[in-house]
Amino acid sequence: MRKSLFAVAAFFAALPAFASTDVGVVKVSQGPVQIEREGRSVPATVGMAVRASDTLRTGANGSAGVTFADNSLVSVGPNTVFSIDKYRFDSTTHAGEFEGSLKKGKLAAVSGKMVKQTPESMKIRTPSSVMAVRGTEFVVSVEDAPAP
């Protein structure tokens, strides 16, 4: 218990400006876009903070864009489900890891300072693949699952 408290304290000490668990900010939100967090779903509005373990879900005609703490940019297109599985960034050393999964739909991403410091520290998973990002801009799509 003491050890884990120490680890938490050390994490915040390394990120002096990050007073909360926020890892990014919604900068673009068009049409139906929801953020799912701890079993609840709220409409994503521009300026809303994003946290590690959030899921972004868009409907038809929905799209959204998020700027993360390390300046990486991620956007999702219509009918998309994208989860942030892990996000950690040290603004002093630029060490960190970013793992997300695209369950379905479309994603565009521009890697940030973390990947510049440590190539492949950003990973995007899909049902059949893992993308390790060396830089900089890429797109990923996952079609709706075919009927068995």
């Binding site: 900068k27 300026g47 700027t67 990002v133 801009e137 799509s141």
Partner: protein, 204 residues
């Protein structure tokens, strides 16, 4: 008796042969492609699938996974990628804009050129939806790592407070100190270099 056993065996084999093939697990079709950035720079993504690992490092070369699980690497056209991803790419937030401020030597006061740069920061803020600011301090190489980490953060905090004093919302600002890790002018250790004593303002 042996005949009966043989008949059973034949029946079992026939049964096996007639059993429908186990359906292959169907997965959603996927595609990943590297695209050029606004300056034409093309990066790289390592794609790992059940067929192994492949590095995509050319624009508009896509790795596909088909519904039956097979994979292929194919050239795609810019037009087809634009058509599929138009709404997605247009939802990407604006690239962060960076401004660099320098201080008069030994003072808290910005150089005249940096004061003009500060006006540009406010102009950039007005152009962006829900803007936030990251203030990043840097030092030269005089002193050890821990000392410079603290000093760079103190510089960043000072500029952040200056911006708050000019009307920027405190809660939309973060500061960071990079110490001597990111020199603008590369020098040996323990070299005083004014151009490395700077603060970057990243508007995003």
């Amino acid at each position: 008796m042996r005949l009966v056993a043989a008949a059973f065996l034949l029946a079992a084999i026939a049964g096996c042969a007639e059993a429908p093939p186990k359906p292959r697990a169907l997965a959603p079709a996927e595609m990943v492609a590297v695209i050029p950035g606004p300056t034409g720079h093309v990066g790289a993504v390592v794609v790992r699938t059940r067929d192994g690992e492949q590095v995509l490092d050319k624009a508009y070369v896509a790795r596909r996974v088909k519904a039956d699980g097979s994979t292929e690497t194919v050239a795609v056209t810019r037009e087809s990628v634009d058509a599929i991803f138009a709404e997605t790419v247009s939802a990407l937030p604006g690239r962060p804009a960076t401004f660099t401020l320098y201080f008069l030597e030994g003072k808290d006061e910005l150089t005249p050129a940096s004061k003009a740069e500060l006006d540009k920061v406010f102009g950039e803020l007005r152009r962006r939806p829900a803007p936030d600011i990251l203030v990043i301090g840097h030092t030269d190489t005089v002193g050890n790592l821990a000392f410079n980490d603290k000093l760079s953060l103190a510089r960043a905090d000072r500029v952040r407070d200056m911006l708050v004093g000019m009307g920027m919302e405190r809660q939309r600002m973060q500061s960071a100190g990079r110490g001597k890790r990111e020199l603008l002018v590369p020098t040996d250790d323990n070299v005083a270099e004014p151009r490395n004593r700077r603060v970057e303002i990243s508007v995003r």
